[in-house]
């Protein structure tokens, strides 16, 4: 499905275009000079940035990063001198224009080989590099810009390195914050949560990218263009580690999902029930702005919420726990939690599973502490049981009607409200 760009996306792309227009208007002469004087150097960085767009990494949260591309772009923004080349004395606007052109080139190639093309990513990254280049090359710090310190070697290396890291961080965090904003609007989750997720999950890669730019800039005066692959090497190694981590995270999730199929395969529950409840629970949790760690535990708990049924002597009709007697519901939940606790690594998940059947009135009237995640599973499970896993409007309406009958008594009204919001934006779980 092709998404209609949200207002935030249009705003971000608009901002990037405005930056480029201003840069082109004010620096067109410098740009032409730069192309003439630094053709080889610029071509090398442009290729590195474009190739970097082919080597993207997808993190477990769905965030997309292109560390090689970002690292090369920041390296260009910080570059002072390069062995065997003229001093790279160009204004920030020229760097921004070159990076934007290289990103567009990368995107075109992506489009040609049939990979997804997102203009917002180009826009966000252009703005980020623009910030770094501007801070480094144009803003005077105690008389001169930080770039002058590099070119003339007048400051202590520690000061130079710190300045480089700081301006890289400023650009990179601008990039992360804007991507968080775009992602929040796209998937209908609260902005603060999405940005927090971006920042947290990105930290491993961020360290690598932050240092890659300065490394390239520091190596260039000694080894020339070789600085580009050499400076990016530590980050690429980090990248390998991060990829392995992401892949492993995926198999872990898959293991839990397999475990959740036990009740399906055995015929206790309708096919796909566990994964539907998990998907719905995650969507509701995101819509309510829950922390990424909590969402993860919630997803596992939702996948495994019916596991306790394997202990039943006779299956309950249609596997629909929502129709079972409260005592049976509780017993199934406790049995499932007991099984999961045996793993010793899923205790938090077991806690959530244990309380998934507690009616909301216990929270309201007796102040019983039931984690929000458990209340979400209760609502998502009821929704799937009542709608029999169907998504046609009649089934959805019927399910919501049944849930409304228990609103405030069985089900947490805030969770139900979030559920209704997710039904408006399905499929983004």
């Amino acid at each position: 499905m092709r998404l209609i760009p949200s207002r935030v996306e249009r705003l971000v792309v608009g901002l990037a275009v405005a930056v480029l227009v201003v840069a082109a208007a004010t620096e067109h002469a410098a740009f032409a000079d730069a192309i003439r004087n630094h053709a080889v150097l610029l071509a090398a960085f442009a290729v590195s940035i474009a190739v970097g767009e082919m080597l993207r990494v997808r993190m477990p949260s769905g965030r997309v990063a292109a560390p090689v591309s970002s690292g090369s772009a920041i390296g260009l923004a910080l570059l002072g001198t390069m062995h065997g080349h003229a001093t790279f004395d160009v204004p920030a606007g020229v760097v921004t224009l070159v990076v934007a052109a290289a990103l567009c080139l990368g995107l075109l190639v992506r489009g040609m080989i049939g990979r997804p093309v997102e203009w917002t990513i180009v826009a966000v990254r252009t703005i980020g590099v623009g910030v770094t280049a501007l801070l480094f090359r144009s803003i005077p710090l105690g008389g001169d810009s930080a770039w002058t310190w590099v070119a003339e070697g007048v400051r202590h290396p520690a000061v130079l390195a710190s300045a480089m890291m700081l301006v890289s961080a400023a650009g990179l965090y601008a990039d992360l914050a804007l991507s968080g904003l775009v992602r929040a609007r796209r998937s209908g989750v609260p902005v603060s949560g999405a940005i927090r997720e971006e920042l947290q999950e990105a930290q491993a890669l961020t360290f690598g990218v932050l240092a890659a730019g300065p490394l390239v800039a520091f190596l260039a005066p000694v080894v020339g263009l070789l600085a580009l692959p050499l400076g990016l090497l530590p980050m690429m190694l980090t990248n390998v580690a991060v990829r392995r981590y992401a892949a492993n995270r995926a198999t872990y999730r898959q293991t839990i999902a397999t475990l959740s199929q036990l009740t399906d395969v055995a015929g206790y529950t309708p096919t796909g029930h566990a994964s539907r409840v998990a998907e719905r629970s995650v969507a509701v949790a995101r819509a309510m702005g829950l922390h990424a760690d909590v969402v993860q535990d919630l997803e596992y708990a939702a996948l495994l919420h019916d596991l306790g049924q394997v202990g039943l002597r006779s299956p309950i009709p249609d596997g629909a726990t929502v129709l079972a007697a409260p005592d049976d519901q509780r017993r199934i939940a406790l049995e499932g939690a007991r099984i999961v606790r045996r793993t010793e690594v899923l205790d938090r998940v077991a806690d959530l599973m244990e309380r998934q059947t507690t009616p909301f009135r216990h929270v309201r009237e007796w102040g019983e502490e039931v984690p929000l995640a458990s209340r979400i599973i209760k609502v998502a499970n009821a929704f799937d049981d009542f709608s029999h896993g169907r998504t046609d409007p009649a089934s959805v309406d019927a399910a919501l009607e049944r849930i409304h009958l228990g609103l405030g008594y069985e089900y947490d009204p805030e969770v139900v409200e979030a559920l209704i919001r997710t039904i408006g934006t399905p499929g983004r779980g």
């Binding site: 130079l160 690598g208 490394l215 520091f218 090497l233 530590p234 980090t238 981590y245 872990y252 007991r338």
Partner: protein
């Protein structure tokens, strides 16, 4: 170690820049301070070789030896003095071996007159790669030697394990030392160079440790499957774990590879999954074999269980047709049968269980499997007797 030190002293003299030496030793010690091993001990990450390798051109091979010595001496881990001294000797010796290798292949120790990409690659980059390999092998040899002497693990086995598990990663990180040297000496950055180069590794370390944690968690999650089996069939309490352990010992005894042994272990653990994938009251409609097959199929999508699930499938099919199962599957099947007879509703002695089952098999593969079982049971007996001895 002292021999190496004297050799280095005679060859290169001793006139280091003391401030550089202190910085390198301190950063090296820092890499040993940060926890670098995941809780299961299988994923190990350290950037110490970056520091040691960079030290070779910066403070000379003997200086690199001193850096190794200090870094191991200052480790925060509480270990007996003997081990600490061994670690110091080991880190220092492998650093000096790296230093000698660097020099032997023409590595430059003063950097005078070196500039531009090619001269630096020839006289610094490639020698560092060689030193990296030498350092790694020397280190692995020393550790494997000590483990051979103390625990008795064969040298070759330990060496191959060390060099193939964390070796390649460690080697790749070692190349970063080249960057450090270029920035430190010709780039005139000094000690700042090592900090800039090590920053990205903080992220790599984080990701690798997370990876180790999650891998453990993933395997633990399988425990929930066993737990589910035992919930359905309480009489099988402990059965899966026993079959898994016994079959794995037999597989090792017959010389199966590490991957196959692991598959046998997992298949032993999960071989009764078929019992859970059929709802109660429906057992009659659902033959044991088809339930077993569904149990095996369920696991097929998990990449790390592919081997184990195909063994389970083989076991399920072995009951259907007369085709003999592979050796690995046979091991699990025999271990299962043995345990059911030995610890079943009417427990019998190990000898009776063994003899009773053995008479049912006359083929050559059965002969091998039962010989392995007999040895495994004898070892078990010895272990039990040792445990009972005062």
């Amino acid at each position: 170690m002292s021999g190496l030190a004297v050799l280095c002293l005679a060859r290169y003299g001793w006139d280091p820049d003391w401030s550089d030496l202190v910085v390198l030793a301190f950063v090296g010690a820092l890499t040993w301070w940060l926890p670098s091993t995941s809780s299961d001990g299988r994923i190990h990450f350290t950037a110490d070789n970056v520091v040691v390798l960079a030290a070779i051109p910066i403070v000379g091979p003997l200086g690199a030896g001193v850096v190794g010595l200090v870094m191991a001496a200052l480790t925060r881990r509480r270990i007996p003095v003997v081990r600490r001294v061994f670690n110091m000797a080991m880190a220092s010796s492998s650093a000096m071996v790296g230093g000698l290798a660097y020099d032997l292949v023409g590595g430059s120790l003063d950097m005078v007159g070196l500039s531009g990409a090619m001269p630096l690659i020839w006289h610094v980059g490639l020698p560092i790669v060689v030193a990296d390999a030498a350092n790694l092998v020397a280190n692995a040899l020393l550790v494997a030697g000590v483990i051979r002497l103390t625990v008795g693990v064969p040298l070759q086995l330990q060496l191959v394990d060390m060099l193939t598990s964390s070796g390649p990663t460690q080697f790749a990180y070692g190349i970063i030392a080249f960057l450090v040297v270029i920035m430190w000496l010709p780039g005139e950055l000094g000690p700042v160079a090592i900090l800039v180069a090590l920053v990205p590794l903080a992220g790599a370390r984080w990701a690798l440790l997370q990876y180790g944690e999650e891998r453990t968690a993933r395997e633990r999650a399988l425990g929930a499957l066993v737990s589910a089996i035992e919930t359905r069939a309480p009489e099988l309490e402990g059965h899966s774990a026993r079959v898994s352990a016994l079959a794995a010992v037999m597989a090792q005894d017959l010389g199966l590879g590490p991957k196959e042994v692991a598959d046998v272990r997992t298949a032993g653990l999960l071989h009764d999954l078929g019992r859970v994938v059929v709802a109660p009251g429906r057992e009659g409609e659902d033959e044991v074999t088809s339930a077993r097959l569904r149990g095996a199929t369920m696991l097929q999508d998990l990449p790390f269980l592919r081997g184990a699930s195909s063994l389970m499938e083989e076991i399920a099919r072995a009951d259907l047709d007369d085709a003999p199962p592979s050796l690995a599957a046979d091991l699990v099947r025999v271990a299962d049968e043995y345990d059911l007879v030995r610890h079943g509703a009417h427990p019998v002695t190990a000898r009776d269980a063994f003899e009773g089952l053995r008479t049912l098999r006359e083929d050559a593969q059965g002969e091998r499997v039962f010989q392995a079982l007999s040895r495994a049971l004898r070892d078990q007996d010895h272990a039990d007797a040792d445990a009972e001895a005062p």
